[in-house]
């Protein structure tokens, strides 16, 4: 691409008309739309169609129980509408008071379940329309909001959970908070609509960073602390890799961050112009440069992202279409300087470190496995109650990990026993004593809740994991670590494209089988078989795991073996 092209100020890639959501955003008066009118309509549990787009920017999705959709129609009733509310909790850190507040709200207004997400947020499900304001106000009372947790904005900023380097964790967490706040929309619509704030009389507020149309599509940011790539930094639109002084006199000091741009996992079945993409590593920056760089990356995407086609609107497509060199040049032009070259780093794992770990400052951290991030009270699993009891005595904080797990962090040595007893009493530790496969597996919510779902995911994960564990046992690989992720659609909520084995829903009972990611989040898997049912999946895996058991090198991961053995080749469709 020539420099003349680069010099054009704002050059939309296409002249097609803007997508319908762009029109809704434009008319929304700072994301207000007709949400108040929708909330006040007593004849329906739903909100108006245009408001279903806008409410996402306020951290909520309208959903309905898809299991009973047909039944309700037969009953001449509208679908059983309810809402999901997702918190903005940068780095997934919550105080015990905040935990208790969210837990109480889930009991009072939600489905009695707190869900820990793959982006370190809490989700409340099943909140009905008339309770939305009370729920948001309850969150606000605990100093939690859901602003920009969904929608075409910078969403919840992730940060490595890092239960060992306590001081570094705190520092990185603070940067996550700062980036999140810096990139927030400036509209007061959230306060007006949900918190009974004063009504704006004039035109909508200025949005100097996001613009009046906000971003073309969702935008995801994460900060990772090597060697643990728990946040899957290459899957983020905007990624920061913490670079820490390893040898110098200031050992452990945060020197700055490597910058990655243009990652993203969503795709659409049968549309090859959509694809998952790993981010490009483009340089190094000092901590004090971070907010300006983040803002500038967002503004480039704001100005160049495709607003005509939402399936082509993420930063990854802007970069794929224009080239990474164009992007670096544009960034340098806007910053007024070029970034330093990226510094060296290594990733060794994507997973969490389970159990008790002692931090550098002598305090203790317990990482619990929470299957599918679901904290509820079910027979034999009184997790909601158990964690409420823990929160009631806990002096430290809670951290949600990017793998939907939970760290009870900053426990003093003499409190460990008390926490342990509550963990044991409520069965919270049981999921740690299982195979590594099951312990690290991820699934998205999918049916019956998610409107995008094409096949089961969370509800299917346990039985499918059994199938794979059976194969591993059969081939003498009983306790082998292996990453397995299942999603109900190709949008990638559980980051399936970065798993050694991934199932991506196509239709009820049918999946695309993808194989061959590495185990550190730096190589995407590829399609191995498309649109197949469970027996075919099991047959395919049986053969491959059998070969792996016979032919693998020492410590060679399954995903790496498949490439070396030429089971997967580059020409395989991505």
């Amino acid at each position: 691409m020539s420099t003349e092209v680069l010099d054009r100020p704002v050059a939309p890639a296409k002249v097609d008309p803007p997508s319908p959501v762009e029109i809704i955003k434009k008319a929304s008066r700072g994301l207000r739309g007709t949400l108040v009118e929708s909330l006040n309509d007593p004849l329906t549990g739903a909100i108006r169609d245009s408001d279903t787009q806008l409410i996402k920017f306020h951290g909520s999705y309208q959903q309905d129980d898809r299991d009973i959709r047909a039944e309700r129609e037969h009953q001449k009733l509208e679908p059983a509408y309810s809402f999901m509310i997702r918190t903005r909790t940068p780095g997934g850190v919550a105080s015990p008071q905040q935990w208790l507040a969210l837990s109480a709200l889930a009991r009072k207004y939600g489905s009695g379940t707190l869900r820990l997400t793959t982006r370190q947020a809490f989700q409340l499900h099943g909140v009905i329309k008339k309770d939305l304001q009370a729920t948001m106000q309850g969150m606000q009372a605990a100093l939690i909001d859901s602003i920009a947790a969904c929608g075409d904005v910078n969403r919840n900023v992730m940060a490595s959970a890092n239960p060992v380097e306590s001081r570094l964790h705190e520092e990185v967490h603070q940067w996550a908070v700062k980036v999140s706040e810096h990139l927030l929309p400036k509209t007061r619509a959230y306060h007006e609509i949900w918190l009974n704030g004063e009504k704006l009389a004039g035109p909508a507020e200025e949005e100097p960073i996001l613009g009046q149309l906000y971003l073309p599509r969702k935008f995801k940011t994460g900060i990772v602390v090597p060697p643990h790539n728990d946040v899957d930094v290459y899957s983020q639109d905007l990624g920061f890799i913490a670079i820490v002084d390893k040898e110098g006199i200031e050992e452990g000091k945060l020197l700055g961050f490597n910058l990655t741009v243009g990652g993203g996992l969503g795709a659409t079945h049968g549309e090859p112009q959509t694809f998952p993409r790993l981010a490009d590593l483009i340089g190094f920056l000092a901590p004090e440069q971070m907010l300006k760089v983040a803002e500038t990356v967002v503004m480039i995407q704001r100005d160049f992202g495709d607003r005509t086609d939402r399936k082509h609107a993420r930063l990854k497509y802007t970069i794929a279409d224009r080239g990474i060199d164009w992007f670096k040049a544009e960034l340098a032009k806007r910053l007024g300087y070029e970034l330093e070259p990226a510094r060296a780093y290594t990733f060794t794992t994507q997973g969490d470190r389970f159990g008790w770990l002692r931090g550098h400052d002598g305090r203790w951290h317990l990482t619990l496995r929470i299957e599918s991030g679901r904290v509820g009270d079910t027979p034999g699993k009184p997790f909601l109650t158990g964690l409420e009891k823990i929160a009631a005595i806990h002096q430290g904080d809670f951290r949600l990990t990017a793998n939907q797990n939970l760290i009870i962090a900053n426990v003093s040595a003499n409190e460990c026993m008390n926490i342990d007893r509550l963990v044991a009493d409520h069965g919270l530790g049981k999921a740690l004593f299982t195979t590594p496969l099951r312990r690290d597996a991820l699934a998205c919510v999918s049916l019956p809740t998610c409107s995008l779902a094409m096949a089961e995911a969370e509800r299917y994960l346990p039985s499918f994991t059994d199938r794979v564990d059976e194969l591993l046992t059969k081939h003498g690989l009983g306790n082998l670590p292996l990453t397995l992720r299942i999603t109900g659609c190709p949008n990638g909520c559980a980051r399936p494209y970065l798993a050694e084995i991934a199932l991506i829903g196509r239709a009820p009972g049918r999946y695309t089988l993808r194989l061959g990611a590495d185990a550190v989040g730096s190589r995407l898997n590829v399609v191995y078989r498309d649109n197949i049912d469970e027996p075919s999946i099991v047959t395919a895996l049986d053969e491959l795991i059998g070969r792996y058991a016979a032919e693998r090198h020492t410590d060679e991961r399954f995903g790496d073996f498949l490439w070396r053995a030429n089971v997967l080749r580059q020409e395989t469709r991505a």
């Binding site: 007593p42 004849l43 129609e73 009953q75 001449k76 009733l77 059983a80 009905i128 008339k130």
Partner: protein
Amino acid sequence: MSGAVILQGNFPIPEDRRDQLQQLATELNREQLMWLSGYFAGAAAAAPSSIPGFQANLLGGQARAQIASAAAPASAAFAPAAAAAAPLPTLTIISASHTGNGRKISEKLLAAVQALGMQARMIKAGDYQPREIAKEKLLYVVISTHGDGDPPDEARGLYEFLGTKRAPQLPELQYSVLSLGDTSYPKFCEAGRVIDERLAKLGAKRLLPRVDCDVDFERLAQSWADDALARAREFKEKHSPVGSVATGVAQTAAPVAATPELTRANPATAEVLANQRIVGRAALREVRHVELAFPGLGTLYKAGDALGIVHRNPEPAIDAVLKATKLDPAATVTHEGKTHTLLEWLRDERELTRIARPLLIQVAAQAKVDISELLANAPAMAKLTASCQVSDVLGSYPAEWTPAALVSALRPVTGRVYSIASSPAAVGDEAHLTVAVVGSDSDRKLLAGAASHFVVNTPVDSKVQVWIERNERFRVPADSSRDMIMVGPGTGIAPFRGFVQEREANGATGRNWLFFGGRSLYHDFLYQLEWQQALKRKSVHRVDVAFSRDQAEKIYVQHRIRQAGKDLFDWLSNGASFYVCGDASAMAPDVHAALLDVVREQGNMDADDAQSWVADLTADGRYLRDVY
């Protein structure tokens, strides 16, 4: 119309209009035709004539003046007032009942009286102008009692009028009351008793003692009718006939309908097209939507009518009675000319759920137990009738029964009817019902609800026996440009679904406003999708909902009525009709009180004026209720 008049001999009506008139004449009953004669006379007096001298030739000068002054207010009230100008016949029979039993008795009596050559008319209480009573000489009232001793809705205007200070003294009037009721209710035949006493208090002379009938009314009612006929003959012999309106006119103008009327004894067979639950999973009470059809059904009913289903008693209830009496279900019993096996009697012909006082007395007598103390204890009786069924009573008072004695002691099964939730204008030969499954919100699954349980267990494609109960009083506004306000919480929504279908199909221009109530938006909003779509199509213009359990405080339709007071009063002042359907014991009085409050507040009236305003609304036929 004046420009299009073509004189055809003595029939100065254009041909297409003539067809319409003849069509109309065949569809209306005698009272309606008589009323129309006054209506047209009033309208003629008010309209300019295109033919000089025509008007004067048609009507005598005096009658014209009377009609013109009555028509002057130019409101919906003018037409009945004009109709009242016609001289009254000698005998008036007022029929006031929900189920149609009263009407049938009245019609039979009317025919017998007319056979004597006597001037007589039968009028439904809803069509009767209370003030006309001052002019009556001989009056028979056939009236049923509902709910907590209430009169049927159509009679409420007359019933209340007679109790007010405005009621005239009636020294010239001779009368008798036939009262229909159900001994399973505490205030048995209360409405008949009250109207009888009110007439007596106003100075009218009781020609025959009042007769109170239970659900097996036929024999007692016949003996009252025989006596009433004899007294009418005596009356005729004493008085020379007065008045000039010949009943013969109406008789020739209203030919007997081609299709014989369906009754419980003469039902039609309908196919079940749909039978589906229409409340959500967490609803505390099951409600079902049922669609029935047979060729020609659409010509037999109008929106507002009710449909009865011939049901069979549930097997557990039959078994319980057989167990308590140790009788052989195969035993043959002949009773009142009919012969069936005991099983058939119990399954098809006898009431096994509701308990009536006479049954209790008979069962106790058979068992030789003295229950006079229980009978005198009203609260205990109320509790008993509300919580026990027939088999419980039989079990509590064990006795030696013969099959014949049992059949005789048990009451005949009563017809269960449901307001029709459709309009033939929209659904053709189908009729839709909205059936609440009685007992589904309590532990007493078997109690009552024999008919609704029968409906629940009637699968699609099966056949059921049905009949129609006409409800002429409860119709969409005759003037389709008038607005309509409908209050129908719970299954009270049913007729209004039919009303809205009818108005939409007929292109009515009046607005439709619905008040609905239930327990929760998510589970109990009956026909939610249809109302949402109707609002979008503008076939419904406003829907106010009250869901009692969706917030800490209980909110019902009457609260929404009060909240909407200003608009409601505007609509009513603008000529809207106000309809109420559903529960008679709590909802209807609460809605009535709310309506009075709205009228008082919005009309700046005192309580008495508001009462009169609402009474006028009733008298205008714009406050109509179908409550049970």
